[in-house]
């Protein structure tokens, strides 16, 4: 008996990193999972195989979350395949770091489109289904830098702060329909995204983390399971900081 038996989850950007771990943890609790990916088909299929071997179901669906037609097709496929969407995890995200003074317009646009507009489009696309069901969970993956700010990431920080505002508004609009919307703000988590950082940057970061270590994707995935399950049924519009105490 899992906490999410029979539930259907869509996880965007689920082929790698935090998204992959979220997909696996939701499946471990019995959810059927739609593994969305943008470019890494092989890796997405590996996640699907891993989930199928746990005895629940998964499919991989390619979609660009910043494109409305692509998002519509993603959600239609999920409903066609599994009959409902109970959980949406807006996880897909990219970085195009640069100092504000050097940041090009397309670096700004790319990050805002995927990391913020993508959350809006995916949320809008599942709302109809969840309103009819009179239940649903939407979990948005923001970032602790969206709360603190971070030099070199104006685009990313603006998008992630925007996600927190979007979470609160969506939570208010949909509360009467029993759709609960919360966000998670991860700190520094060991993934390819943070692997690209220099040793100096990593050390500088570690000195600011009371728990003195990077987090693991599982630390985020476990919180997603909590927010997707009945254990969190009296909370909406909140942002959980999972960052080793970096920001208090």
């Amino acid at each position: 008996m899992g906490k999410l038996d029979g539930k259907v989850a869509v996880v965007t950007g689920a082929s790698r990193g935090i998204g992959r771990s979220i997909a696996l943890y939701l499946a471990k609790e019995g959810a059927k999972v739609v593994v969305n990916y943008s470019g890494s088909e092989q890796k997405a299929l590996q996640v699907v195989d891993e989930i199928n071997s746990m005895g629940t179901n998964a499919i991989a669906v390619q979609a660009n979350v910043a494109d409305v037609d692509s998002v519509t097709q993603l959600m239609d496929t999920a409903i066609k395949e599994f009959g409902s969407i109970d959980i949406l995890v807006n996880n897909a995200g990219i970085t195009r770091d640069n100092l504000l003074m050097r940041m090009k317009e397309d670096e700004w646009d790319d990050v805002i489109n995927t990391n913020l507009k993508g959350v809006f489009l995916c949320t809008k696309a599942v709302t109809r289904q969840m309103m009819k069901q009179r239940s649903g969970r939407i979990i948005n993956i923001s970032s602790i830098v969206g709360v603190m700010g971070n030099a070199g990431q104006a685009n990313y920080v603006a998008a992630k702060a925007g996600v927190i505002g979007l979470t609160k508004t969506t939570a208010r609009e949909l509360a009467s329909r029993n759709i609960l919307v919360n966000a998670i703000a991860p700190g520094f988590i060991t993934t390819e995204m943070t692997g690209a950082l220099s040793e100096d940057m990593k050390n500088a970061m570690l000195s600011q983390i009371p728990l003195a270590k990077l987090g693991q994707p599982e630390d985020i995935a476990k919180a997603v399971v909590f927010l997707a399950s009945d254990d969190s049924s009296y909370m909406t519009g909140q942002t959980l900081h999972i960052d080793g105490g970096m920001y208090m």
Partner: protein
């Protein structure tokens, strides 16, 4: 055969929990039938399903009364 009026009435009664006698052609969803803005969005969604048609956001914004809905749907069906 059930008329458009009857089918719309049924959707409105189911969705808004009002009495059938209240669903008059001139009744406004928000003023007379107690719907909030989200109820109206849902109502339009259910009318789309009932009549198997797509109602654009632009058109949906113009549907304020039971009569508006019937007129719009009849126009689309013909």
């Amino acid at each position: 055969m059930t008329t458009v009026l009857e089918r719309v009435t049924k959707v409105v009664v189911d969705r808004l929990g009002v009495d059938e006698s209240e669903v008059k052609v001139e009744a406004s969803f928000r003023e007379d039938l107690g719907a909030d803005s989200l109820d109206v969005v849902e109502l339009v969604m259910e009318l789309e399903d009932e009549f198997d048609m797509e109602i654009s956001d632009e058109d949906a914004e113009k549907i304020a009364t039971v009569g508006d809905a019937i007129k719009y749907i009849e126009g689309k069906l013909n």
